[in-house]
Subunit: 298 residues, 2 copies
């Protein structure tokens, strides 16, 4: 996301309004305050306007759903596609996620781990990407590969992914949902998902795994009885284990959800030596600690 933001209007805690960056595609005019505010979770100022990078509308787009015999095969195919092809979307769903979606959206996708992939560009480039994606799917023993050809089919296909939060809430009636957010180097994704999968089984969690495979980022959504403290501490043990594994693999505790309150200890583990500087930046912009206090750096 950060790379897509060119400029920001920010209201600082003092009430002063600044505009960082510019509309130019790149800049080296001083320290990068734009990047500093992006992902600062409201702790440095309030973003009131943002200028994003624009891209042309592609001539052609095709979405695919590819079903694999195992989660490992889906991850390997996803990692291969992420490394070699320029998919515009590349998402993983494990079997429980597909089942939850089928139940909630009335789809009848085969209940198995799958990748949802989209390629966009010129008709020719999409065709050649599709050809390579077919090869990757075959090499990883995919059992089904379906193209969503109509606009309607594409929307339906992506609904299954975008509606995951909704689908698991409907599936897990009366339960709360907590989610992990580790992100690892693409080549480490199959290993990291395998660890998550093993831990889910060992801890007997009710959970789904969905992943932004193209980014090496995946979320495990876990059903939690909100009234049961043991369930929460069980989730936290699980989450800690995933963070520990991600850091060992050269990854990060948070790909996109941020630190907030819940991952302060994880941030300490990942960048402990930099917390003092982050705290200094916080004090510089917000000396009275009035902006989302206690988040990211306590």
């Amino acid at each position: 996301m950060r790379a897509q933001v060119l400029a920001l209007q920010v209201v600082l805690p003092s009430g002063k309004v600044i505009t960082t960056g510019s509309r130019a595609p790149k800049t080296s005019a001083g320290y990068d305050l734009t990047g500093l505010f992006v992902g600062s979770e409201g702790t440095l100022g309030v973003i009131t306007e943002l200028t994003v990078r624009l891209y042309g509308i592609p001539e052609h787009a095709v979405a695919l759903r590819i079903v694999f015999p195992t989660l490992g095969a889906a991850c390997s195919a996803g990692a291969a596609a992420a490394a070699g092809l320029a998919a515009t979307r590349l998402e993983l769903l494990d079997e429980p996620a597909v089942i939850a979606a089928n139940d909630h959206f009335g789809t009848s996708y085969p209940p198995g781990p799958c990748l949802l992939v989209e390629f966009a560009g010129s008709t020719e480039s999409v065709r050649s990407d599709l050809e390579l994606m077919h090869q990757i799917a075959e090499e990883n023993e995919a059992s089904e590969l379906c193209h969503a050809l109509s606009e309607e089919d594409r929307v339906r296909l992506w609904e299954v992914r975008h509606g995951q939060a909704e689908a698991v809430r409907a599936a897990w009636t009366g339960m709360g949902v907590r989610s992990t957010d580790v992100c690892v180097p693409i080549s480490e994704l199959p290993g990291a998902v395998e660890v998550a999968s093993t831990e889910i089984a060992q801890l007997e969690l009710t959970a789904t795994i969905v992943g932004h495979v193209g980014d090496g980022n995946f979320h495990v959504a876990v059903a939690i009885d909100p009234t049961d403290p043991a369930a929460h501490s069980n989730f936290e043990r699980f989450s800690d284990r995933l963070v520990e594994d991600a850091l060992t693999r050269g990854g990060t505790c948070s790909g996109e959800h941020g630190i907030g309150l819940g991952k302060i200890a994880a941030l300490e583990r990942e960048h402990g030596d930099q917390i003092a500087y982050m705290r200094g930046i916080k004090r510089l912009f917000d000396p009275n600690n009035i902006m989302n206090p206690g988040k990211i750096v306590a």
Copy 2:
């Protein structure tokens, strides 16, 4: 560049060594110190290791040289290509730049404004990009469009661009060279280059214009008699005028060269309201002002 850097090892002024970021393709673990150090021109610490984003080697690549009747036509074609096509390189050379290159490298390219363009990817995607580039060239009345097919021809073609600094130094014997670095929104590039061109003529400068058109960034290299103070102040007036124009267009005073000493006033003009915060960041990391003192923020 900033978006291509995933992680940094930095030696801080205190002697402490930190590693920002990770090998994960994205992260939202705390404030973005990686982006803060990139482009900080050695004022916050010494970067001793960096982890960059990797891309697959493309199956196919084609480089083009396209000659236009006017600089304006070359810029319009460049802006159209930058907005609609994913060129891997997209560079502009004005007529004096081509002549300097011919003289220095023994090439015999037609002396006129030109674009150097490269497309890379699958054979099919390159073919469709080339087709669109041909259309854009025709619409802008290009007089010549040559493909560099062999590896040797491609290297030779890019030598003309990469060797520009060398070529103008050879052409302007005994003279010094100073350069501008404004960057503007792509749609503003033709207008900004026209202003530069008009100013060059009015101030009777010996100069070349070369541009990273795909980024909206261009450099005017100006021949300066190093012993003549009037020549330097003449250049500074010219440079100020370009910065003023770039800022009016929503651009920046520096696309990639940075602020150093020479653009401190320009940075003040662009982000005057943020200098106090940049100074605060400088003090936070380098309280004794021992890292490249006086640069970016005085």
